[in-house]
């Protein structure tokens, strides 16, 4: 059960932990843009165009789903394993950018 102390350490460093339920920060609007074929984040007078992976993660953040559930869902959907590190890395970036509230 090494995951528990790891998670506590991550929590202490301010990084996302698996039980947290992130949501998109309220200043941002996340939406699918058919013309750009991409998920975009809109904010005052600006836009961030997300790549496919980032869009898959961001579009599932609802403030109710835990990061752990999110990882399992993505792994099932894309028939792969070991997405945990990628998802946590992205959420760390997203939090630093102020896009998500964790």
């Amino acid at each position: 059960m090494t995951a528990v102390p790891d998670e506590l350490a991550a929590w202490a460093r301010g990084e996302p932990h698996l039980n947290a339920c992130p949501r998109v920060e309220k200043m941002f609007k996340l939406q699918w843009e058919a013309v750009q074929q991409a998920w975009v984040l809109l904010y005052p007078e600006g836009m961030v165009k997300l790549n496919a992976s980032a869009g898959e993660i961001m579009s599932r953040l609802d403030g109710k789903t835990s990061i752990e559930t999110l990882i399992r869902t993505l792994e099932q959907q894309f028939e792969t394993k070991n997405l945990q590190a990628d998802v946590l890395d992205f959420l760390t970036i997203a939090k630093r950018q102020g896009w998500v509230k964790i």
């Binding site: 904010y43 005052p44 970036i93």
Partner: protein, 386 residues
């Protein structure tokens, strides 16, 4: 599956098919209660034809959104001078735009703020009502401060992110610390201290508005000190006048690349001031759909990419960085919009900029035959364009 992110802020590849008109600036009216000497509205605004109707604007919003626009700015003049603003914001919001209101705050009552919130307005950019006539009042924090306080409280209580914008120039730049303190006191999240750009009314008043190098250096020092003092409390953006640069700005991120401005009478422009280029016939949204305007019209293809360039831009190794700068500035200072923006020190007419900068170093007291400030109002507009 990798989790890297592509972050773009309105950057699209200019060498291939242009991207969509991501930014729609809806200049819904030229009516304005202020008379700012740095206004970029055309000097002949008083001769503008009839304003688009509510139905026209709704059609423009729908067409622009279908063409891929995501940001919609409601601007003017003072957009609150139109009483159908709430209807337009509601439609823009319903269509999936991020909606921005660019306002002086004059006319933003509790009732209108409530209606705009209900309509789904996402963000308010509040400009300081600093029209120089009111400079002393502004600096003494009396009448203007009360208005700003009220407006800022309205913005906060409606849970809008607040960006404060203050146009900086020779006459107010020495008071930058007071301006920053005021922004913090009002609770702004962002403060844009944008030096005046010399177009339209600001060009008429350029000699009165361009700060000296000493003023600029001091203002930057003060701004940096305030950034340290206030930390995360407020984000301060300071924009120097391009006259003090050696390379021009990539104006509007390229002609017909990201921005689409629609003027009160329906002219579609690649930037707010492009109408000064008389050699181009700009399409009107009353006659042509937004997608055709963006992709097909002669006007929007005129300076797209780099095929139109002359030397020194044509053969310049840096041409992709700035696309030759600003076409309007080239026109104003060299009489040909296809010339290099003379801000660039490779331009054979760079001296037109350095002469203005040299004049800016002369203290006001030592200047002779100084032209008085020209205020942006309908009377001056008509007398300057008989």
């Amino acid at each position: 599956m990798s989790a890297d992110v592509t972050q773009i802020t309105y950057a699209t590849n200019v060498t291939t098919q242009p991207g969509p008109p991501l930014w729609l600036l809806a200049e819904v009216t030229y009516k304005c209660p202020l008379h700012c000497v740095f206004c970029y509205n055309p000097v002949d605004f008083a001769q503008t034809g009839s304003e688009l109707s509510t139905a026209d604007w709704i059609r423009v919003l729908r067409e622009a959104r279908a063409a891929g626009s995501v940001q919609c700015g409601f601007s003017g003049g003072e957009p609150l001078a139109r009483d159908d603003l709430e209807i337009l914001v509601e439609e823009a919001n319903r269509l999936g735009f991020y909606t921005n209101l660019l306002t002086s705050g004059v006319g933003l009552t509790e009732a209108r703020a409530n209606a705009l919130k209900k309509a789904g307005l996402d963000h308010v950019q509040l400009s300081f009502q600093d029209s120089t006539k009111e400079l002393n009042d502004f600096l003494s924090h009396t009448k203007t401060f009360d208005l700003k306080r009220r407006t800022a409280d309205l913005i906060k209580s409606h849970d809008w992110p607040m960006v404060l914008n203050c146009v900086i120039h020779r006459l107010n730049i020495d008071y930058i610390e007071q301006i920053i303190d005021l922004a913090v006191e009002l609770g702004a999240e962002y403060l844009e201290l944008a030096n005046s750009q010399y177009y339209s009314w600001a060009e008429l008043n350029r000699d009165n508005l361009l700060p000296s190098r000493e003023q600029l250096d001091r203002a930057e020092r003060v701004t940096n000190a305030c950034r340290e003092k206030y930390g995360d409390k407020i984000r301060i953006i300071f924009v120097v006048p391009d006259y003090y640069e050696k390379r021009p700005k990539k104006c509007m991120n390229g002609w017909g690349n990201v921005f689409l401005t629609v003027t009160p009478d329906g002219s579609a422009l690649p930037c707010h001031t492009a109408k000064m280029i008389k050699g181009i016939s700009f399409p009107n949204v009353r006659d042509m759909g937004v997608s055709d305007i963006w992709y097909q019209s002669t006007a929007f293809n005129f300076y797209r990419g780099d095929g139109w360039m002359k030397d020194p831009c044509r053969t310049c190794s840096e041409k992709d960085k700035d696309l030759g700068g600003c076409r309007c500035q080239a026109l104003m200072l060299t009489s040909d919009a296809a010339n290099a923006d003379p801000v660039c020190d490779k331009s054979p007419m760079h001296h037109r900029v350095t002469e203005a900068v040299a004049y800016a170093q002369i203290p006001d007291a030592q200047r002779e035959n100084v032209k008085p400030l020209v205020f942006r109002d309908p009377k001056n507009s008509r007398s300057l364009n008989p």
